[in-house]
């Protein structure tokens, strides 16, 4: 038990996410061990993105969005009264479906955007952070000679890796990926998936995906959501080879969803 707790990084306890009076996620309790990739799968509208957005307190920024239950980050409820949501978002990085580089900033400025928000840092610190983050997101070799050009000069796949670099630069503990390859071509998708394997050595990753093969390729654990409820969670190979719940099996074999 003690060992399990030490490895446990992030957990939700009966987490319910609502829009006004409608629950999009219902009483979900999930655990995310340190340095693992957990994939969240399910048909459109099953609440998987909403669930993800609860993990860094982004859900409450949506119109009418509120939450009950707990999200424990290293044992501390991030919805506790004393916790500042802005601090939570610095510890839990997020990458969205579509690349969202800041259009007025250079590649360099995009990467350090999350660092600069904490105040002025020495130039050498920033330079090091940029190289580290871009190496981690496998973009360094492609952009190292043109860090000062606009981030919009990059291709879609490069922009998405830039967004990953921007998310990891401030040194978060957890990385949330919300269908990060939804707008990318197969090659861009492949690179992001390879990246997941690299990144999990440093971060705990939660990835929402529509693509079942992707979930099977990148994740250690898979959670299946349906109509806002957690139907089944387990080791990825178990979920895909011998699911315990019939509905899970129906979904992964393509019979519905």
């Amino acid at each position: 038990m003690a060992l399990a707790d030490a490895a446990l990084h992030l957990a939700t306890e009966r987490l319910t996410a609502l829009f006004h009076r409608t629950a999009a996620v219902k009483e979900v309790s999930l655990m995310f061990p340190r340095h693992t990739v957990t994939a969240i799968i399910g048909p459109s509208g099953c609440g998987k993105s909403t669930f993800l957005r609860c993990l860094n307190r982004m859900h409450e920024l949506s119109d009418g969005g509120w939450v009950t239950g707990k999200v424990l980050l290293e044992g501390v409820d991030i919805y506790g009264g004393r916790v500042n949501p802005v601090e939570v978002r610095r510890r839990v990085g997020m990458v969205f479906q579509r690349p969202t580089p800041f259009p007025t900033m250079s590649i360099y400025d995009n990467v350090v955007a999350g660092l600069r928000v904490n105040g002025r840092l020495p130039q050498t610190t920033l330079d090091e952070a940029v190289e580290r983050a871009l190496r981690q997101s496998a973009l360094w070799d492609e952009v190292k000679d043109r860090l000062r050009v606009s981030a919009l000069d990059l291709s879609g796949g490069q922009q998405q890796r830039l967004c990953i670099a921007r998310a990891v630069a401030p040194g978060p503990d957890v990385l949330l990926l919300d269908e990060p390859t939804a707008s990318l071509d197969p090659l861009g998708t492949l690179r992001i998936e390879e990246l997941c394997h690299e990144l999990k050595r440093r971060y705990t990753i939660v990835i929402v995906t529509h693509n079942l093969q992707q979930a099977a390729r990148v994740s250690d654990y898979t959670a299946f959501f349906y109509l806002g409820e957690l139907i089944e969670v387990g080791r990825t190979k178990d979920i895909f080879t011998k699911p315990r719940v019939e509905r899970t099996e129906a979904y992964i074999t393509g019979r519905f969803g």
Partner: protein, 281 residues
């Protein structure tokens, strides 16, 4: 088989001709104004026109240096008060203006946008000139600022609204506080549009006469004291054009040409600013 196609082509030709003709008709007044001003005003524009102040009535010579400088100062004062308030209100409306206060501010801005400019002049006269006991350039600047604020607020709001929601979310997810997201990401992204809106507003107010009649009043001498009456090009045109002397009429045409060129220049600058920054966005 052929008839419908022919009919379509004829119809298309007629409509195209009509649209082009209407378009020319719309541009025609501008060309007439520019042509007329150039014909009647250009000959009076020389070095003295820009460097000398008016001479007493009846004498020839003199210029409108006081009015050119005065226009610059009063428009500058208007920008000083009008731009920060207008842009601030616009950002507020776009970012936080979904509630009742936002509705109220938007409604007031729309009403003010439609208010005749002379009413703004009376308003400033009643609340500023009368209590202080004298006309001043400062009062003129305030009247023009009051005209500018609703214009700038509404264009800023539109420009800020165009910034995709995903950029806001990206900044917030990086741990930006909300106000910083607004300033560093949203406003910066919308900056080209905001600058354009500001320039268009400046072009609009630079030629205003009515709100200045009982605020800045006008001044036949060269003055840079903002607490004293001051001349502007529009006031100078008003006085000269309604006066009895041919010499005055001549200078009025020239002043009108300069004012028109100024406004046109600002409009072109606004276009250019948008295009420059759109290169990256």
């Amino acid at each position: 088989m052929i008839a419908p196609r022919l009919r379509r082509r004829v119809g298309s030709a007629i409509m195209t001709t009509l649209v082009v003709a209407l378009c020319l008709l719309a541009v025609l007044p501008l060309l007439f104004i520019l042509g007329d001003l150039t014909v009647k005003g250009a000959s009076s524009i020389d070095w003295n026109f820009f460097t000398k102040s008016p001479v007493p009535a009846g004498q020839t010579g003199g210029g409108v240096a006081n009015a050119i400088v005065g226009t610059g100062i009063i428009v500058g004062l208007a920008c000083l008060f009008g731009l920060p308030i207008g842009i601030g209100a616009g950002v507020f409306l776009a970012e936080y203006g979904s509630g009742r206060l936002g509705w109220l501010v938007r409604f007031v801005a729309d009403v003010l946008n439609g208010t005749p400019s002379i009413v703004m002049g009376i308003f400033v006269w009643g609340w500023f000139v009368k209590p202080l006991g004298h006309f001043s350039a400062l009062a003129g600047g305030l009247a023009l600022a009051a005209l500018m604020i609703p214009m700038v607020a509404r264009t800023t709001e539109e420009m800020v609204r165009l910034v995709p929601h995903s950029l806001r979310e990206a900044a917030l997810a990086l741990g930006y506080p909300r106000w910083r997201t607004s300033l560093r990401v949203v406003v910066r992204t919308a900056l080209a549009g905001i600058v354009t809106g500001g320039l268009v507003a400046v072009a609009r107010i630079a030629g205003e006469t009515a709100p200045l009649l009982f605020t800045a009043l006008g001044n036949l001498n060269f003055s840079t004291n903002i607490l004293q009456p001051m001349q502007t090009l529009s006031l100078q045109i008003y006085v000269y054009a309604t006066g009895p002397f041919d010499e005055w009429h001549r200078l009025a045409w020239a002043a009108a040409l300069v004012l028109m060129a100024l406004v046109l220049g600002l409009a072109v600058l606004a276009r250019w600013a948008t295009r420059q920054r759109d290169g990256t966005g």
